[in-house]
């Protein structure tokens, strides 16, 4: 059986989750590897969640929020952006290919963009192969 990545996507309620819903109401098809977890604002997404997702076996983590300047809560997405870059530097140090983690802005009207993003990211993560974080953390030698 070919390798199928498991991906966790954290989406803000107002833009990205609504955009993902729009992909649904528009019956756009995308990879079933993407599993969405909703938060009110991308400003709620923090390293703890992303690291836990990898540790629990996710092969990729997608983070989506409102476009810069469009945050429902004014600027939560900028805080998310800062944490994203911080995490990237940390995870690089921990030996992870940071292409497993991606942040994209998806507005409430961008159902099509979300579907395309889901497919594109899934493909990229599939090409990277399984993430070793869970295995490395659980098989201490």
């Amino acid at each position: 059986m070919s390798y199928e990545p498991t991906i966790i996507a954290f989406l803000c309620n107002w833009c990205s989750y609504t955009g993902a819903d729009l992909a649904g109401t528009s019956r756009m098809k995308y990879a079933s590897n993407i599993n969405i977890i909703r938060v009110m604002c991308s400003g709620r997404i923090e390293p703890l969640f992303v690291l836990t997702a990898f540790r629990e076996g996710a092969d990729g983590v997608l983070i989506c929020g409102c476009h810069p300047g469009d945050c429902h809560y004014h600027e939560g997405n900028y805080k998310c952006l800062r944490r994203y870059y911080f995490l990237k530097k940390y995870l690089t140090q921990m030996g992870m290919n940071t292409e497993r983690m991606r942040l994209e802005w998806v507005s409430a009207s961008e159902g099509k963009q979300f579907a395309e993003l889901a497919d594109d990211f899934t493909e990229k993560v599939r090409n990277l192969g399984p993430c070793k974080i869970k295995e490395a953390a659980e098989t201490l030698t």
């Binding site: 199928e4 498991t6 966790i8 309620n13 107002w14 833009c15 989750y17 609504t18 993902a20 819903d21 992909a23 649904g24 109401t25 019956r27 756009m28 098809k29 995308y30 079933s32 599993n35 969405i36 977890i37 909703r38 938060v39 009110m40 604002c41 400003g43 709620r44 997404i45 923090e46 703890l48 969640f49 836990t52 997702a53 629990e56 076996g57 996710a58 409102c66 300047g69 469009d70 429902h72 809560y73 004014h74 600027e75 939560g76 805080k79 944490r83 507005s107 409430a108 009207s109 961008e110 579907a115």
Partner: protein
């Protein structure tokens, strides 16, 4: 701690979910998860019997948590929370798994979709274990309303509210009320005078004791929340602090500028005019060409700037009927004129509209069809010997022939598009724009009047192009909603706020500048941060910035989200190995 007793319900949504997800298998497999007391599938969970099933089970099986796996929580989360409430359970002891919009409608492999649905439901079950009761909170409603935009939508809303005795602040950015409607002559389909309708309303608005009009004014910033907004308005050099409980956004649309469309020669040929310029001629009472003559040949070109990938993909909705209205007005004014309608599709839905089309088509009007996507008509200057001054080349779609139409006057039926300041307004009032820069309603079908920000309503063209009756309907619908809250005097507000655990908070003050609403202050005496829950909107950013774990983002706590992640992945990986 009380024993956790979860009820799990998997919705078929008719065939919407069950076609792609083996709902019975999902219900069966998840019944084995710890804490799950019952797990069922049902045709329509949101229906009355579906909700009754939940209520019955809560009582019979002493459930204290409920998971419904169905459509998007954005549609039915409130429905199910109400059901829990009706069964005597706190509405927040509920979690939804979205297996329609995010599973059955977007995947086409039934086995994979079913696995994903199981993982999402497992995540919801794991999460709901950490849910806690949240108490309702209400705020008082200031009876005043801010209406932004003084066109027919804003005026209608203002008058409706003012007539009930509630104060209205009406903000108009230009010097005059009336908006686009004041610029047109007759309305379709019954050819009544627009001016008569709007003039009477403008006068009533201007003299209404409950309406305070601010012309030549824009709103830069709005603070607060439903029931308790305020804004500082600059007026004649001084500043006025307005307080209001609700906001109606009625900022309208503007006509498309066809200058960029070379094939139509707008700006090059003086007798190529836009529909609004033609209205000006109608209002002035004479329809003359640039040279002051009666036009012998008038061509009305449809869909200018609309329904085309390179300009706007959407239909501007009002132009077809307006074009028919022009044909009627031209036929009456210049009985001998040759009148051509160059159209892409004739869209005549709505009361009286198809009838207008039928009656117009019997008045010697020539209807010619073109391909709006790939093959637009081209306007050329006529040769010196021709009897007209312009020629319109087009491939007539119905006959399949390439033809030339003589024209002395061309009316471009320009579409409607968002104002340049739409984005700024959306930020000021805290609502979203769609891809066409129209303001987004809370739900396109179930709530096309409210927005995702409580207390903010969108009416008229700023939400999407629409005709006058639809605009007025929406304006009146919004005011009915607002009057409801004013009458009740208070409204329930967000309970998903942040809260500081004073036993943990060390007073580092990292959170204070992080809050976009300045809802957090530092209590010097206690040495801890304090969240003002009336101001907090529950984004959770402070909770993620708190290094000590003292701030809890209610209903999105670390434990709730982490257990959701863990539940999802453990089920997902377990199924992968099968």
């Amino acid at each position: 701690m009380e024993e956790i007793r979860i009820g799990v319900y998997i919705c078929w949504c008719g065939t919407n979910i069950s076609r792609m997800v083996d709902v019975e298998d999902v219900a069966r497999e998840l019944s084995e998860m710890p804490g799950v007391v019952i797990s069922k599938d049902y045709k329509y969970m949101c229906s009355d019997p579906g909700q009754a099933l939940i209520i019955k089970d809560i009582k019979e099986h002493k459930l204290n948590r409920v998971v419904v796996s169905a459509c998007s929580p954005r549609i039915h989360e409130l429905t199910f929370r109400k059901a829990l409430e009706n069964a005597g359970l706190n509405p927040y002891m509920f979690q939804m798994a979205n297996i329609r919009e995010q599973v059955s409608w977007v995947h086409d492999d039934r086995e994979k979709a079913t696995k994903k649905a199981k993982a999402l439901v497992a995540a919801a079950i794991n999460r709901v274990k950490w849910h806690e009761s949240l108490d309702k909170r209400t705020v008082s409603i200031n009876p005043s309303t801010l209406v932004i935009g003084g066109g027919i939508a804003g005026i209608t809303a203002a008058l409706e509210l003012a007539d009930t005795g509630s104060p209205v602040y009406l903000i108009e950015k230009t010097t005059e009320l009336g908006g686009n409607m004041a610029k047109i002559d007759l309305t379709f389909p019954y050819l009544n005078s627009a001016r008569q309708i709007i003039q009477e309303k403008i006068e009533r608005t201007e003299h209404h004791p409950n309406i305070h009009i601010f012309k030549n004014t824009v709103v830069d910033e709005i603070f607060g929340y439903i029931g308790n907004f305020n804004s500082i308005i600059g007026q004649n050099g001084s500043e006025i602090d307005l307080k209001f409980g609700n906001i109606v956004v009625a900022t309208g649309l503007k006509p498309f500028d066809p200058s960029g469309l070379e094939n139509y020669g707008y700006g090059k040929f003086p007798d190529v005019i836009t529909s609004l310029e033609f209205e000006k001629k109608l209002l002035s009472g004479n329809i003359l060409t640039n040279e002051g003559k009666d036009p012998e040949n008038v061509v009305i070109i449809h869909c200018v700037g609309s329904r085309n990938r390179s300009e706007h993909e959407y239909c501007s909705r009002t132009c077809c009927m307006t074009a028919l209205k022009y044909a009627n007005q031209l036929r009456s004014a210049i009985p001998d004129a040759n009148i051509y309608q160059a159209y892409a599709d004739m869209r005549a839905f709505g009361k009286g509209c198809e009838e207008l089309y039928t009656s117009t088509s019997r008045k010697g009007i020539m209807f010619l069809m073109f391909d709006q996507q790939n093959d637009l008509p081209v306007i050329k200057k006529a040769e010196p010997g021709d009897s007209c001054n312009m020629l319109i080349e087009m491939n007539e779609k119905l006959s399949g022939e390439k033809i030339e139409i003589p024209a002395d006057m061309v009316i471009l039926m320009v579409g409607l598009e968002a104002h340049e300041d739409a984005k700024k307004i959306s930020h000021t009032v805290g609502i979203s724009l769609d891809g066409n820069s129209f303001f987004m309603e809370k739900h396109p079908k179930l709530d096309p009047v409210a927005t995702t920000t409580s207390g903010v309503y969108v009416v008229g063209n700023c939400q999407a192009p629409k005709d006058i009756p639809d605009t007025i309907t929406q304006a009146k619908a919004a005011t009915a909603r607002i009057m409801g809250t004013i009458k009740q005097g208070e409204v329930e507000v967000e309970v998903i706020t942040a809260v500081v655990n004073e036993d943990i908070c060390c007073g580092c003050q990292t959170c204070i500048q992080v809050c976009p609403y300045t809802a957090i202050t530092y209590d010097v005496v206690k040495g801890v941060s304090v969240v003002n829950e009336a101001i907090c909107k529950g984004c959770g950013t402070c909770g993620s910035a708190c290094p000590t774990g003292a701030i809890r983002s209610r209903h999105f706590t670390d434990n709730q989200i982490l257990s959701q992640i863990k539940g999802l992945l453990s089920k997902s990986l377990e199924l992968k190995e099968v």
